[in-house]
């Protein structure tokens, strides 16, 4: 069945069974690499994307449920050549080891920064709690989110592209 969804501002008509998790539509039909399969159970956050501005686990969100809604993935925040603010902050902090969790981390963090101008460190930790990292990059991830919040708040200048 054909389902129309808007991903990073572009409309796509995809032919997929309606119960297909959004994750597989993004990865296999739209060839977007950002959202990752981690658990398929809503327990790890590797697949985090935004639907209408809210973070969701794309692995447990049927594609039919996002028909006509706005989906945003990490690809929508920036590119290698023009990274978005959070991506710049993660690069500046070198906040990745294997990096498999990081797209989901960035999308989770983006949802916080979209709503809260100046989050406290405790707010950042609490907000990031659903997302798992096995490499132990958490300390740098927290610093990167802090840095991005400061960049958006104007306390720290935005990095010029390296």
């Amino acid at each position: 069945m054909t389902i129309t969804l808007t991903v990073n501002g572009v409309d796509h008509a995809v032919d997929a069974p309606p119960d297909t998790p959004l994750l597989y539509v993004l990865r296999d039909d739209l060839a977007l690499n950002g959202a990752k399969y981690g658990c398929g159970l809503g327990q790890c956050g590797a697949c985090t994307v935004h639907v209408d501005g809210k973070p969701v686990f794309s692995c447990v969100t049927p594609v039919a449920a996002v028909a006509g809604r706005r989906v945003r993935t990490v690809e929508g925040l920036g590119t290698v050549d023009t990274p978005g603010i959070l991506q710049q902050a993660f690069i500046a902090e070198q906040a990745a080891q294997c990096g498999y969790c990081i797209s989901g981390m960035i999308m989770r963090a983006q949802a916080l920064l979209d709503g809260v101008r100046r989050p406290t460190d405790a707010q950042i930790r609490a907000h990031m709690q659903p997302n798992l990292c096995r490499c132990g990059t958490h300390g740098r991830i927290l610093k990167a989110v802090r840095r991005a919040a400061d960049m958006m708040g104007g306390t720290v200048p935005q990095a010029v592209r390296s």
Partner: protein, 766 residues
């Protein structure tokens, strides 16, 4: 600078460069394969044969310069390594090494990682060996090439080579200022020559790239949805597969409903080979639904039952871990035995320490791509042993070795042998049955938890004595462990090998000899103690599937040694750091402990008061890798038993750091991961199988439990040999946590995990 997996798929093989105009490659330099059946490069196996013992690092196995470095006529440089990126930043570090000794900007270098047709076989990427093996080889190979280029310029200009210098941008400069480009010089030069041992190295004081915190080359693509992982490869005509197994190792499905699945729209094929079963579909979701349908079948245990003591359905107590290991017959291996006359013991402490079975817990379940076309099998794998994957598949499918090609592409962090090797073999079996179509196979979350080899459960028993002068006059350390290295080198080592008909026998477990050791790793203290007796009770029979987990036995052995030192210090009422320094002669070990003491302000630390306390620990990984000291300050919630690390400080000496920020990243990550293992984790077992299949059954540390601050001081050692860093924090962090909890509460926890319920129980009513 770095190749995406898709570039690898398109890239011509190294052989295709033969005869390429202007390139220095004359022939591909393969070392003899005499010993190549053994996994090497970091887990103690022999690895590739040593044919040039005078050379350093992996040049011993592959002395020809063109195995490592190619300089094209246009000056572009390609560097080849048999090691792979696991998220540890090795790609960037090796580029820095090559750039420094070639005296080129790092951006001028393309690095090709393990590929059975393009790179040297350097064995496994494991055991914190990559900088020692490959970094050292590339350092010296690059110095050789720079020397040859300089000599070529000297010959060209008829001047002595001593008056020439390289410029840092791909040129040699003559005494009169003349310049010659590397590419032009290379055109007249063959690199199919053996390295010499004494090619001059650049002076560390002049380093332009090495030792600098170069941003990692792989990170931008990983943050922006680039094709950074094997998982992101999409080959034309690719199909999606799922392998079908019982819920956990040792089980099999009973009569799964194959007919129904074959009739499902979108299912291309059901692959059976003996008891091996997989589904192949056009769409990934179809393959998953077919798997779910087949998994409705009943299952039965097909291997020996688990030891009764394991089957509690809950994380094992220390007694239960020991009860399981006690059912196995040990082979005793003496590790150290010294006798020195001493004064009488005044304080003696005896203790048992335990660790349960721990999962690697990779965030991304293992994945592989395979394609069988025109009689040739190509496998993309994130295994730590790319060359071993090719050997396994060669034997498993009975293919000629030259028809099997394995290429590394990145996966999620693995931290040892997770499902990577198994899934690569699975994908090859499936691809063999669907010729011409690339197969992408990813394991499901429950398969990763249920079937990957776990880090082995272990027990130690220590006894140690102090004399009246607070000298350690007796030290006894016994360790019981399964083998930690069951990495597959043939078909019997992977799951599919036991499922095909006829099956391949699983190889017998073997210990890794010291100095690297496996269950014995770091059981021999680096300290100078009188009357040291260390004994390894090696348990070859494995009731639970186990293999390498980051740091192997060092996690529990260092935990035990460094806990015992604090127990002794407490018995004698002396400072734990002072006790360690009094018994440590190695000056670099002392420096690292003192750097930790300064950075953490050990002398001014808050003293244990029931709620707050500090602990430290030290080890040199394997007694031959990096030195690492860790100090932690914990805050105890006596209501819940939660021990939160407010502040962590680590000092590390890894010789010349290739990239100090990369070193810090590894130490920070290892520290957090070890806090998770040590403080939270244990696989549970039901009577017939593992009992944790997802993150609710196997919780790991989340953001709320991450330390308040983590600082790492990298001790600079200009020009000293590289020492592997990636596993150095695991043991010291574990012991520092136990020591900090003991300092804060007076309660000594000796059985991992040092979990809140256990601490709360030990603390008693609030």
């Amino acid at each position: 600078m770095s190749m995406s997996p898709l570039d690898h798929a398109k890239a011509p093989s190294r052989r295709a460069f033969l005869g390429g105009g202007g390139a220095l490659v004359v022939a591909f330099s393969l070392a003899p394969r005499a010993l190549a059946q053994l996994a090497g490069g970091g887990e103690g196996g022999a690895g590739p044969a040593v044919i040039a013992p005078d050379l350093k690092g992996s040049l011993k196995n592959h002395p020809w310069l063109d195995a490592w470095i190619r300089v094209d006529g246009d000056g572009r440089v390609t560097v080849f390594t048999g090691k792979v990126e696991l998220g540890q930043g090795i790609r960037t570090a090796l580029i820095q090494v090559a750039a420094e000794e070639l005296d080129l900007p790092p951006g001028a270098i393309t690095l090709v990682t393990a590929d059975t047709r393009r790179t040297p076989d350097e064995g496994l990427t494991a055991g914190s060996h990559s900088m020692q093996d490959s970094g050292t080889a590339i350092l010296n190979a690059a110095a050789n090439v720079r020397m040859l280029l300089t000599n070529a310029a000297a010959a060209l200009w008829r001047v002595p080579a001593g008056g020439l210098a390289t410029t840092g941008d791909g040129h040699v400069r003559g005494p009169d200022g003349r310049l010659a480009a590397y590419g032009d010089l290379a055109a007249g030069l063959s690199l199919h020559v053996a390295a010499v041992p004494d090619a001059p190295l650049r002076n560390p004081a002049d380093y332009r790239t090495l030792g600098k915190p170069l941003p990692r080359v792989d990170i931008p693509a990983k943050l922006t949805g680039g094709a950074a992982y094997l998982h992101d490869m999409r080959l034309p005509g690719m199909l999606h597969a799922r392998v079908v197994r019982g819920p956990a190792e040792g089980t099999r499905l009973v009569e799964p409903d194959i007919q129904a699945v074959e009739a499902m729209p979108g299912v291309v094929k059901v692959v059976r080979r003996g008891a091996f079963l997989a589904v192949v579909a056009e769409r990934q979701w179809t393959a998953i639904q077919a798997l779910r349908h087949l998994q409705r079948a009943a299952h039965a245990r097909v291997t020996a039952p688990l030891p009764a003591g394991a089957a509690t359905g809950a994380p094992l107590s220390g007694d239960a871990v020991e009860a399981v290991l006690n059912t196995l017959t040990p082979r005793d291996i003496a590790i150290e035995d010294t006798r020195t006359p001493t004064g009488p013991a005044v304080h003696t402490v005896q203790a048992r320490y335990t660790r349960p079975w721990i999962s690697h817990g990779s965030i991304g379940p293992s994945c592989a791509l395979a394609r069988f076309q025109d009689g040739e099998m190509t496998i993309w794998t994130h295994s730590q042993g790319t060359f071993d994957v090719a050997r396994v598949v060669t034997e498993l499918l009975g293919l000629p070795a030259e028809k099997v090609h394995a290429i590394h592409a990145e996966g999620a962090g693995c931290y040892g042998q997770n499902g990577a090797d198994d899934v690569a073999a699975d994908a090859a079996v499936i691809a063999f049955a669907v010729p011409g179509r690339p197969i992408r196979l990813q394991w499901m979350r429950e398969q990763e938890f249920g079937w990957e080899p776990l880090g082995p459960g272990m027990v130690t028993r220590l006894a140690a004595s102090l004399d009246a002068d607070n000298r350690i006059v007796a030290w006894r350390h016994e360790v019981w462990s399964n083998p930690h290295n069951n990495r597959p080198v043939g078909a019997g080592g992977v799951l599919a090998g036991a499922e095909v008909d006829p099956p391949f026998a699983a190889p017998e477990g073997k210990p890794i000899p010291m100095p690297e050791g496996d269950g014995s790793r770091n059981s021999n203290p680096l300290y100078t103690f009188a009357n040291t007796h260390v004994l390894y009770h090696f348990l070859k029979d494995m009731p639970v599937r186990v293999s390498a987990l980051r740091s192997l036995g060092a996690h529990l052995n260092v935990f035990s040694i460094e806990s015992m030192l604090d127990e002794l210090a407490a018995a004698a009422g002396i400072d734990p750091l002072a006790l360690r320094l009094a018994h440590m002669e190695d000056p670099r070990a002392r420096d690292v402990m003192q750097a930790m003491a300064a950075g953490f302000d050990w002398a001014g630390r808050p003293r244990g008061d029931g709620r707050r306390g500090c602990g430290m620990a030290f080890a040199r990984y394997k007694n031959l890798g990096a030195y690492c000291a860790v100090a932690l300050e914990v805050e105890i919630d006596r209501e819940t038993g939660r021990a939160w690390v407010r502040r962590a400080f680590a000092a590390v000496d890894c010789g010349q750091p290739a990239n100090p920020d990369g070193v810090r990243n590894q130490i920070e990550g290892g520290l957090i991961q070890s806090l998770s293992w040590t403080g939270h984790e244990a696989m549970a077992f039901s009577p017939e199988r593992r009992a944790a299949f997802d993150w609710s059954g196997y919780p790991i540390l989340r953001f709320q439990d991450v330390p308040g601050t983590i600082d790492v001081r990298v001790v600079d050692r200009p020009g000293l040999p590289f020492l592997g860093t990636a596993e150095a924090a695991q043991g010291p962090t574990a012991a520092a946590l136990a020591n900090a909890i003991a300092d804060a509460t007076g309660v000594r926890l000796r059985d991992m995990p040092l979990a809140p319920d256990r601490l709360k129980a030990a603390l008693g009513p609030v």
